[in-house]
Each structure stands twice: as structure tokens, then as C-alpha cells.
């Protein structure tokens, strides 16, 4: 702090603090509070009624969210699919990160890392379009499978939940790999060797040594992947089409129909459940916020 004062003076530090506070309060906290407020007020088509006697606090929006069976189904499907995407990302990301860490500083690893990164320099929409091409009815994957004679008719990948899930895993797996990689990298390789030397088989070394050490990375990877999957709009839109509706789409439709109140209630529901999920994951892995922020 004193160093900052020396460098920027009181005016400078004041400006920086003001900037940060402004950013946090006005651009993040305020809209969220506004959304919560909106969610608990009725939709009034006539703008004159807003702030009038009809504009009272109510839970009717939430009643609409939870009483419509289609909404509930889409909602749980989104949660379930996001959990599935998270688990699959973890199952792929964990061994991959471990191999990357243990292989050390060889040239191959550098190439592999760049290979992992380059697709992510491309816009998310374009990447998802690429998967559309791969998964299409006469796309790359079906052509190859049919060419090999493994299947006779093309498999329907696009416009299905499965297609969306594949796309989500691809879109967000790096957010799983990077926290995993960085926690695993801080594990002393001698720990692994010591467990092995004491007689631990392969799976015990992971269960007793690598997983406990990587817990903060696993937890933050899972949380981020889950949040991004549950909140993804582009991937279900492009790969799910009209057949596979996701909860973000429902939110969007309400805002599109100018019913901000109902849209806010949808959004609030999703955010709340994601928070519950985060807390559950943290409790499950017995990690604190401090560990995750590391």
C-alpha cells in the first residue's frame, strides 16, 4: 500500500480504488441485485404500472418456473447434463494433466500444450460450428464410421442432447485441465515415487497422494466447467438446434419476449442452483474458498 502511494500518489490510488469499486458495485453487484428485484415483481405489460400499486413483491414468477413441467424437465436436464459434462471432462482431464505434468519438459509436451491451446484462440462460435461439421448427418464422423463399415446408416448426433454434451466437453475441457495441471505440477514427484517404493499400486498412488494433493484444482476445475456448461448458450443453440432445448434458451426466450421479470426468475433459479452445486462440491472435496483461489 505504501509502495502504491509512493508510485501513484493519493490521487492515483484514489482513482484506482474508485475504478475497482465502480467496476464491482455498478457493473457487477447492481445488475445482479436489479435482477433479483425484477424476479420478485410481476410482469406489467403497461410501463405505466411499473412502480404503481400493481408492482408488488410476489413469487408468481417462480411459481411459473417450477409449475411448468416442461421448464422443470429442461431445468433438471441442464443440471444433469452439466454434471455429466463436468464428470466426463474430469475423467479426460485428470489423466491428461497427469501425463502432461509427469512427462516433464520434453519437446513433445510443448507441442501437445500448443495443440491444446490453438483451438481456443478461435472464437467459441466458430469452434462449435466446426463440431457441427464433424457431427453432421453426413459429416466427418459418420462418413468415417460408415466408410469403415461399422454402421450402415448415419447416426443422428446434431440436434440431440448427446451432440450438445460432446460440444460442451470440447468447449470447456481446458478450464478443467488448467487448474488440474497447475495443482499437479506443484506435487513433488518424490511423493509419488515414495508411495510406489512403499508398495502402493498405481491406483492407490493416485487415490492417496495425487488426488488429495490436487483437490483444490479438481474442485475449481469442476466448478468452472459446471458453471460454463450450465450457462452455455452458443453450444446448445448450434448443436442442439430446436430438438434439444437448454435452460439458457428458456431464459433467453423470456427476455426476448420482453418479460424481464420472468426471465430474471429463470436466471435467478439457475444461478442459485449453481451456487448450491459449488457449495456441494466444496463440501464434498472439503476445500475452502481460499484453496480454490490459490
Amino acid at each position: 500500500m505504501t509502495e502504491a502511494l509512493q508510485r501513484f500518489g493519493y490521487a492515483g490510488v484514489g482513482a484506482i480504488l474508485f475504478g475497482v469499486l465502480f467496476w464491482g458495485a455498478l457493473l457487477i453487484v447492481a445488475p445482479m441485485l436489479l435482477m433479483v428485484d425484477l424476479a420478485f415483481r410481476p410482469y406489467l405489460p403497461n410501463p405505466k404500472d411499473v412502480g404503481g400499486p400493481l408492482d408488488v413483491y410476489t413469487i408468481q414468477n417462480f411459481a411459473k418456473v417450477f409449475l411448468d413441467p416442461l421448464n422443470v424437465w429442461v431445468f433438471w436436464k441442464t443440471i444433469y447434463a452439466s454434471i455429466l459434462v463436468t464428470v466426463v471432462s474430469l475423467l479426460i482431464g485428470y489423466p491428461l494433466s497427469y501425463i502432461l505434468v509427469r512427462a516433464g519438459r520434453s519437446a513433445w509436451i510443448g507441442i501437445l500444450m500448443i495443440g491444446l491451446l490453438i483451438p481456443f484462440w478461435v472464437n467459441e462460435i466458430l469452434r462449435t460450428f466446426a463440431w457441427q461439421l464433424l457431427l453432421a448427418r453426413y459429416g466427418f464422423i459418420n462418413t468415417v464410421l460408415m466408410g469403415l463399415g461399422l454402421i450402415d446408416d448415419p447416426i443422428q448426433f446434431t440436434n440431440t442432447d448427446f451432440g450438445v454434451q460432446v460440444g460442451l466437453v470440447y468447449a470447456y475441457i481446458l478450464f478443467m485441465i488448467f487448474p488440474l495441471y497447475s495443482t499437479m505440477e506443484s506435487l513433488d514427484p518424490n511423493q509419488v515415487d515414495a508411495a510406489r517404493d512403499l508398495g502402493a499400486p498405481f491406483w492407490r498412488i493416485h487415490w492417496d497422494i495425487v488426488v488429495p494433493h490436487s483437490k483444490p484444482g479438481i474442485a475449481s476445475g469442476c466448478i468452472v466447467t459446471f458453471m460454463l456448461s450450465a450457462g452455455s448458450y452458443v453450444v446448445p443453440e448450434l448443436l442442439g438446434g430446436t430438438r434439444s432445448i437448454w435452460f439458457t434458451k428458456l431464459i433467453y426466450l423470456q427476455f426476448d419476449a420482453i418479460n424481464w421479470n420472468l426471465g430474471s426468475a429463470y436466471g435467478f433459479t439457475l444461478v442459485s442452483l449453481c451456487l448450491v452445486f459449488i457449495l456441494l462440491v466444496m463440501a464434498m472435496f472439503r476445500v475452502s474458498l481460499k484453496d480454490i483461489a490459490r
Binding site: 515415487d193 515414495a194 508411495a195 510406489r196 517404493d197 512403499l198 508398495g199 502402493a200 492417496d208
Partner: protein, 374 residues
């Protein structure tokens, strides 16, 4: 096989680099054996080959006659103590010690008993529930030993385990390690670059240089009868005086040196006319009484400096224009003579305390004549 652990012509190459070059040694059950050598000479590589983390490029490692090749580190009856200990920080002391038994499926009741016994052995009773980061350096050291011994290995491998400790603790741990080794009867293979450590603890020491064993023997033998110039200069303090052999007979030789003609034992039979190094320990050199003479070597030289080290006082002598002074250690026994800087002094040592060795560091087996090898 009476010999418990055997290394037979073990080589290890990393690419083109030969890290271990034809190491052969047999270590009987229950011995405290040390590999001593400078950093980078291949000690850790040998230890990792014995524990099974890396395979020899050629040669065999046998335990009680059984070839260990292809047996993974988790299946070998060896236990390794890592240079940085590698205790598991997320487990308690007791869980660390019991880990090897747990992965072997030993029941928790049985495990508790062994852990108690181990804590007793390392004098840390009641520390079972402590976290690793609550322990001092020496305590961590002992927990690492207990963790390795709990699985009842046939051979315990120690990779410079004391190097992180401060001097006092290091010396204390030497005795403790030795005592634990005696009471358990487990073969200890200890590697270190600290010659004091190796000499103090070991039954036998193998001195290594650049991937080869230069000499194997009991501490006193390695110290008193070095067979190569490398061993003579690496193990303990030594004076090295370069010269040319003038005559050689009956196991002794006469060497022409900048300090004059000197006589020394010639165990490697360096022939007349060849260059050689004469080694004599500082503690075997004495100040000569005025006028004294006889069979001993006598050198007159100028006192450059005196260094007081507590139990001994070292005096450095050299003639005009010589870079390498001779060091004389005078024991601080109450009768230490006073020596002034710049003074000329005569020093003396017996030819039996001086050893003539070929200057190039060649492997002993190749360099020694056949009759001396037998």
C-alpha cells in the same frame, strides 16, 4: 548366497552419457555400506537402480541370489529414503509410518502395533497424531526412517538424508542412524558426498568418481591405504606432492620433488622415471627437532600461515614460488609448539606414512598389476 545384495558389472547410460560405469560390489546382509563420491558421480542413479525406479542398461542386480530385473519398485524388498524425505504432508505421522502396511492390506489393529513399535524405535512416542509440518528437521528425518523400516525391507537405501540438517544435528543423527541399523540388522546402503559422514557410519565405503568405483573397503582402509590419487585426495585432508620417481624397490620408491628427495610406500609399483603423486596426511607430518635426521623424510620450508581449528592447529609451509603448500596438523594437546609466520621450519614424516600413487585417476582394477589385484 551369503551375500545379500550384489551389483554385477552394472552400467547405466542416459543417451550417450555413461552415468554408471561397470559397478560391481557385493554387500552382505546387515552391513552399513556407503557410496561416497562428489555430486554427479552417479550415486543416486545406483540407488534408483537398486530400488527399481530405473533399469540398468546392462549388468545385474541380485538380492539373495535372485535377479531383481523387471521387478517394480513397489514389489522389491527395498525401501528408499529420499534426499528431501518425501513425507506425505497431508497425512499424520502415524499414517505416514503405516502407509506401506496399509497398501499391503495389513489390518488397522496390526498396523497400529507396528506404528507404535516404530515410534518407540525412533524415540517419538506419542507423536503419532501430529502433522508432518509440526515436526522439526531431525524428527522428520526419523519419521522417514520409520516409514521405510515399517515395511520390513531387506535393504534400506538412503540418499544423502542428512544433507538438509545443520551440523550439530547431522552429527547426532549419524550416531542415531548407526544405532538403528545395529538394532534392526537391516542392510543400510547410504550415499553421501560427505566423507566424514561415510567414514563415521559405515562398515565399508565405496569411493566413486565419474560413474566408477575407485576403491571399496572399511573406512580405515580407504582412509589409510588409498589406492588411487582420487581416493587419496577426496577422502579426508591430504598433502599431495608431485614429482618424478627416481628409484623404486621393495615396495618403496624415491621421488624427486620441489621439496627435495622423498621416500614413500609404493603400493601401485610406479616405475622409475614416471610421474607420481606423494600423499601424506597432515596429521602424520611432525615438526622436526633441530638437527634431527635418520630414515624419515625431512623437508625444510617457510611457514606461510597458521590456521587454528580447535582440536588441531594447521600450519602451511611452502618454498618460494611454490603454489601448493604442505599442511601440518598439530594436535591441540597443550604442548603445541609456537610457530611464527615467515619462520623457516623443518618438518618430517615416515616413508610408511607417505603413499606414492600414479597421478591419473584410473580405475583400480585396470591400473593395478595382476599380483597386486590378487
Amino acid at each position: 548366497m551369503a551375500n545379500d545384495l550384489e551389483l554385477i558389472d552394472v552400467h547405466k547410460k542416459f543417451g550417450d552419457f555413461v552415468a554408471v560405469h561397470g559397478v560391481s560390489v557385493a554387500i552382505p546382509q546387515g552391513e552399513f555400506f556407503s557410496f561416497l563420491g562428489p555430486s554427479g558421480c552417479g550415486k543416486t542413479t545406483i540407488l534408483r537402480m537398486i530400488s527399481g525406479f530405473i533399469d540398468p542398461t546392462s549388468g545385474a542386480i541380485k538380492l539373495a541370489g535372485r535377479d531383481l530385473n523387471g521387478i517394480g519398485p513397489n514389489k522389491r524388498p527395498t525401501a528408499l529414503i529420499f534426499q528431501n524425505l518425501a513425507l506425505f504432508p497431508l497425512m499424520s505421522v502415524a499414517d505416514n509410518i503405516g502407509y506401506g502396511l496399509m497398501v499391503r492390506g495389513v489390518s488397522s489393529a496390526e498396523r497400529r502395533k507396528v506404528v507404535e513399535r516404530m515410534l518407540e524405535l525412533i524415540a517419538l512416542r506419542g507423536y503419532g497424531d501430529k502433522r508432518i509440518d509440526e515436526l522439526s528437521g531431525g524428527q522428520k528425518q526419523r519419521v522417514a526412517i520409520a516409514r521405510a523400516l515399517a515395511v520390513e525391507p531387506k535393504v534400506l537405501l538412503l540418499d544423502e538424508p542428512l544433507s538438509a540438517l545443520d551440523l550439530k544435528l547431522r552429527q547426532h543423527m549419524r550416531q542415531e542412524l548407526r544405532a538403528i541399523q545395529r538394532s534392526t540388522g537391516v542392510t543400510f546402503i547410504y550415499i553421501t558426498h560427505d566423507q566424514g559422514e561415510a567414514l563415521a557410519m559405515s562398515d565399508r565405503v565405496a569411493v566413486m568418481s565419474q560413474g566408477r568405483i575407485e576403491q571399496v573397503g572399511p573406512s580405515a582402509e580407504v582412509y589409510n591405504q588409498p589406492q588411487t590419487a582420487f581416493v587419496a585426495s577426496f577422502v579426508g585432508e591430504n598433502n599431495a606432492i608431485a614429482g618424478k620417481v627416481a628409484a623404486s624397490e621393495y615396495g618403496y620408491a624415491v621421488l624427486d620433488t620441489p621439496f627435495g628427495r622423498l621416500r614413500a610406500a609404493n603400493p601401485r609399483n610406479v616405475a622409475a622415471g614416471e610421474a607420481a603423486l606423494l600423499f601424506v596426511r597432515p596429521e602424520r607430518v611432525r615438526l622436526a627437532a633441530p638437527g634431527a635426521n635418520g630414515a624419515d623424510n625431512v623437508v625444510e620450508s617457510q611457514v606461510l600461515d597458521g590456521v587454528f581449528e580447535g582440536p588441531v592447529a594447521n600450519i602451511l609451509l611452502a618454498n618460494e614460488g611454490q603454489q601448493r603448500p604442505i599442511t601440518v596438523s598439530l594436535s591441540n594437546d597443550g604442548n603445541t609448539p609456537r610457530v611464527a609466520r615467515g619462520e623457516r621450519r623443518r618438518i618430517t614424516f615416515s616413508p610408511d606414512d607417505a603413499i606414492l600413487l600414479p597421478p591419473a585417476s584410473r580405475p583400480v582394477a585396470e591400473a593395478m598389476p595382476a599380483e597386486a589385484r590378487a
